[in-house]
Amino acid sequence: MSEATPESHPAEPPEAPASRPTGARPADHEAIERLASELLPALAARLAASGLGEIELREGSWKVRLRRPSNARGAPDAGRRAADRPSRAQPGHEGHGHAPGALEGHRSARSSQAAHSGNGSGPLPVVAVGPGRGSADAPSERRGAVDTHRAVATSPAVGIFQPRAEIRPGARVRGGDRIGAVDMLGVPQEVVAPADGIVAQILVEPGETVEYGQDLVAIELMTQAGASGRPGGGAD
């Protein structure tokens, strides 16, 4: 349902409008509503938790793209992206049948709110929330990546891991929630839930040494089918 692009790239050419039956409007509205209320926050958190420059999500005839601000990544190519604005949702090109203005406003508001929830107060969803996975990562390296059923919160730093007391298997979390911290020389670096879901497993004992990017907490995602998290189901 989603695809992530490791590098930002120029806006895609408009795609041909998806053919759909004329009676699809109510369904679309439903999809948009869910997109804005559920998927966007998760997507923003995921962007924050990954090192990706941009994330795009397609569902039905809609697509949303979030792009990380250029100074968020330190790869030498960061300068090329200087013109990129902070995280935002982009209306897809396919949604011709709707009032784009209103919709766009709605989405932007949701997305910026979602982005902020990634690290509490800061303006950018990128501070101490996870490994900056660069575009150079080998494709085989998918530790901590989100698949459709399960997401993993990874370590933002090298240090000592301490989950929050209420974070136990079965606990419900929202994308962007602070679920623990890694102590780096006495300075706690927040561990953030990458998406909405249910804690499946805490992978590291409290008080243990962790390295940067290490998997810490596995989260069973709330699936789109409405079944609010099927613990243990479908995860590989």
Binding site: A138, I160, Y212
Partner: protein, 455 residues
């Protein structure tokens, strides 16, 4: 002696330090960025720990990440290698505050030798002839005044860092004014610090540097000199010892003068004093490098002394254990920096998969490299792939062996600068020992390469 050392660097030098630890029976932990997960030092280490993302500012240059890694893995010392945090006195101080040892000069010594201008003044008082230069430039007007005082041509240099970035030679006030802006922005981009200073430019100079090792008790030796005159845009690409520029007597005198001055000035650990030698054979001190250097193997080949283990022992507070009389120099050594650079496209760096890798061998041939077939060279760091060091009983033999070794060396999948080394070995300027630091740039590296191919 240390029990466990954190290696806070990457590439060939991380591997070199790892080997030194092995030779001393010391455990080693390699701290690495995400981009270096598949690197050879990480694979060969007893223990390795990821300290941050590919961006060096959040990994190899992050003092908290490096020190935290050392603390949580139970290390008692940190080896910074070269570049990154290796000459950062503030970092060395924080390392000490965490009850760890910084392998290099103690923080106070790093601070004393931290300013290039301050070091020139300090060593001048201890009898070193130093190159005329300015202090830190306040503004353009100050720069113009200082350049007038020093005399044109002058070289603009950034106060922070090295490696040729932010450096320009100018011949007139007008050139100076326009170059200052460029140098400031280059220095800012490369080192996060745009402060500059000026140095007199010597036409047709040679770069000769003296290696010293001094213990905590003020006992020191020099390990001779290295000639690093083969440069491209102020970046060394080939180093050799002994220097063809000076007679044996002049070399000894230079090394002894340098050693006396730094011992008197209170230097500690291994270090390198860089000089420019002018057309009359006079040496002018320019700066000191308070770290192990890329080209240290040249000296190791000549003296048989392991500079990295020496550095570690001095940092641990051990006495040097040998005197100047124990240091002998045998034969001639040449180091070739094998870089991932495309000479046909203005030496732009190349990155990617090493498809095939064949290492040369034979008498006197040493390869220091982190490459292996199947290794993906990440695009985030410097372009150094390998150092080929070739020794011979004399310069002519070393050159002949080098030709064979360069022919054997195969790095498929990347564009390398091997052709420029081959061109050097067939050029009269190099064979006759006449290379100066500006020769490649004056002729143009591409033209130099083309001329050698035709010959």
């Amino acid at each position: 002696m240390f029990e466990k050392i954190l290696i806070a660097n990457r590439g060939e030098i991380a591997l070199r330090i790892l080997r030194a630890c092995r030779a001393m029976g010391i455990e080693a932990v390699v701290a690495y960025s995400e981009a270096d997960r598949d690197s050879l030092p990480v694979q060969l280490a007893d223990e390795a720990i990821c300290i941050g993302p590919a961006d060096a500012r959040r990994s190899y240059l992050s003092a908290p990440a490096v020190i935290s890694a050392a603390v949580v893995t139970g290390c008692d010392a940190i080896h910074p290698g070269y570049g990154f945090l290796s000459e950062d006195d503030a970092f060395a101080e924080v390392v000490r505050a965490h009850d760890l040892t910084f392998i290099g000069p103690p923080p106070a010594v790093l601070e004393r030798f931290g300013s290039k201008e301050g070091t020139r003044r300090l060593l001048a008082t201890h009898g070193l002839p130093t190159i005329p230069g300015s202090g830190m430039l306040r503004d353009d007007l100050h720069a113009l005044e200082e350049a007038d005082r020093i005399g044109y041509p002058v070289l603009i240099k950034p106060s922070a860092g090295g490696g040729g970035k932010g450096m320009r030679m100018v011949r007139s006030p007008r050139e100076l004014e326009s170059a200052l802006k460029v140098c400031r922005s280059e220095a800012k981009a490369a080192f996060g610090d745009d402060s500059l200073y000026l140095e007199r430019w010597l036409e047709d100079n040679r770069h000769v540097e003296v290696q010293v090792a001094i213990d905590r008790y003020g006992r020191g030796v020099h390990l001779g000199e290295r000639d690093c005159s083969v440069q491209r845009r102020h970046q060394k690409i080939l180093e050799e010892a002994p220097t063809p520029a000076l007679s044996a007597a002049a070399r000894t005198e230079l090394a002894e003068t340098a050693l006396r001055a730094v011992v008197a000035a209170g230097y500690e650990n291994v270090g390198t004093l860089e000089f420019l030698v002018d057309a009359n054979g006079e040496a002018w001190f320019i700066e000191i490098n308070c770290r192990i250097q890329v080209e240290h193997p040249v000296t190791e080949m000549l003296t048989g002394i392991d500079l990295v283990t020496t550095q570690i022992r001095i940092a641990a507070g051990e006495p040097l254990g040998f005197s100047q009389a124990d240091v002998t120099f045998r034969g001639h050594a040449i180091e070739f920096r094998i870089n991932a650079e495309d000479a046909d496209h203005d030496f732009r760096p190349s990155a990617g998969l090493v498809e095939r890798y064949v290492v040369p061998g034979g008498p006197g041939v040493r390869m220091d490299s982190h490459l292996y077939a199947g290794y993906e060279v990440p695009p985030f760091y410097d372009s150094l792939l390998a150092k080929l060091i070739v020794w011979g009983p004399d310069r002519a033999t070393a050159i002949e062996r080098s030709k064979g070794a360069l022919d054997e060396l195969l790095v498929e999948g990347l564009v390398t600068n091997i052709p420029i080394h081959q061109a050097l070995l067939s050029s009269d300027a190099f064979l006759e020992g006449r290379m100066t630091t500006n020769l490649l740039d004056r002729v143009g590296s591409a033209a130099f390469l083309a001329a050698a191919t035709r010959a």
